[in-house]
Subunit: 274 residues, 2 copies
């Protein structure tokens, strides 16, 4: 049985003192040279990053597509099990952006919470509350609200009765999805103003904030806009900027730790102190 | 290299004379008794359905979650390869409802079009056009527009400047996504009126219409509302009603063929003749 998502996250924020999340996006074209001939390079690479950064994070976020594209689901299973066993205070978020009608959502929920043992799963809100219920019955659900891509606003900022669609999504999740289980919202660091509006609508939900690293989002503005008064409330996620940090000496482990430490310090400096 | 989605579909409509699609949703709790001890039951079950119905369909649509929940990606690979090799006129649609920012979408596209060899993939539109481009560069994209679940309207029917959101999605896909590749739209048989509105906005796009079987959608109204004047244009999808058709004599293969034949005949009767 998976620990409650919110309890797990509160534990991680407290023990690590960190709101940093490292996204695990293994890209075969960017593996360090010492791993390219390994039989399970995605697992080995991500495990090395996990060990290098675990004390600096509240969460790890394996990204499903990066494993699926290289037929590495078994490596993803091993990685998730290792995170759960060796780092019991860290929250495991499976980033797979699932979403389907109820009968099928039940199978996706089994994949995420049963097979991979995630505490929380990213879910696309387009199908509405009933399609989210099978996920909420099994574990934490982090709904896409305002994503970090350049074209996110094309649908998400459409005006729906005087409010943008992403705020209607935030309201739907805060008002209805939370009646069925534990939720969070994805809101990109590339749009700090939208992030602030989402925080107003959902004062109590954890916000997963991608885009602070390679995507160039604004870390300080995002933390200021999204942190709760006690200096928590955020899962600030960086992937490529940590995984593929510049390592002039070839030591990618040390380089990833330096990058994570730097982000950790920036987040701490920007957050209110409780 | 994958054949063009639209060319492939036109070939299937012509050679089979059918707009039926059988969805391949293997559910371990519902396998026929003769398969329960098999080492690769999802593959064996779906292969039997494929052989029983291939001449009655324009498309097969394996549903990803059903395989993933039972760690059966390798069986899904084999199934997709078999469909491509043995039934070259049938369109292979991977129903996985993917959707992520561009760099990650590239990996999902490799999974769907490279690894599984799909002609088309279902994609969630919430992230907008830029997130769809990596998919469109590799194969056909069928965007969720008006889904078949009970709560589909919660977001999809929200009023956006006098038009429901699902029509804004249809417009986005028809106007912008089609500039980058070949598209279709998902619109459930459970909402024939919405289906007609979508056909007005997207007169030339194939519509994938789930919900005609177990979900109780209206087949005749949907075909009347969605078929193009030449009696094509639709991919009418049934899954559970074919896969788990009542087989009093235990012959699930014959039962699935009877169910598929019945749907095929109903669709043909409802479609305009060219």
């Amino acid at each position: 049985m998976t620990t409650s998502f919110h309890d797990q996250l509160a534990k991680g924020w407290k023990t690590s003192g960190s709101m940093l999340c490292v996204g695990l996006d293994p890209d075969p074209d960017r593996y360090p040279s010492q791993l390219t001939d390994h039989a399970a390079p995605a697992y080995e690479f991500c495990s090395a990053i996990v060990e290098a950064t675990a004390d600096l994070v509240c969460a790890f976020k394996p990204q499903f597509a990066h494993f699926a594209a290289q037929s590495a689901e078994h490596q993803l299973e091993r990685l998730c099990r290792r995170i759960r066993e060796d780092h019991p205070d860290v929250t495991l978020i499976l980033d797979a952006k699932r979403g389907d009608i109820g009968s099928t959502a039940t199978f996706y929920a089994e994949e995420a919470f049963g097979r991979y043992g995630a505490h929380a799963l990213t879910v696309n809100p387009y199908l509405g509350t009933d399609a989210a219920v099978p996920f909420l019955a099994r574990g934490g659900v982090i709904a896409l609200c305002r994503t970090s891509n350049d074209g996110a606003g094309e649908l998400q900022n459409l005006d729906v009765g005087g409010r943008p669609l992403y705020l209607r999504v935030a309201e739907m999740v805060a008002d209805r999805w939370t009646q069925h289980g534990e939720c969070g919202l994805v809101t990109g660091a590339t749009a700090p103003r939208e992030l602030a509006d989402i925080r107003d609508v959902a004062p109590d939900l954890p916000l997963l904030v991608p885009g602070v690293g390679a995507q160039g989002g604004d870390l300080e503005d995002s933390v200021a806009a999204g942190a709760t008064p006690d200096g928590r409330g955020l899962i600030m996620s960086a992937s490529r900027s940590v995984l593929y940090a510049d390592a002039p000496d070839g030591d990618f482990v040390a380089a990833s730790r330096r990058a994570a430490q730097h982000l950790h310090d920036q987040i701490s400096a920007a957050a209110p102190t409780a």
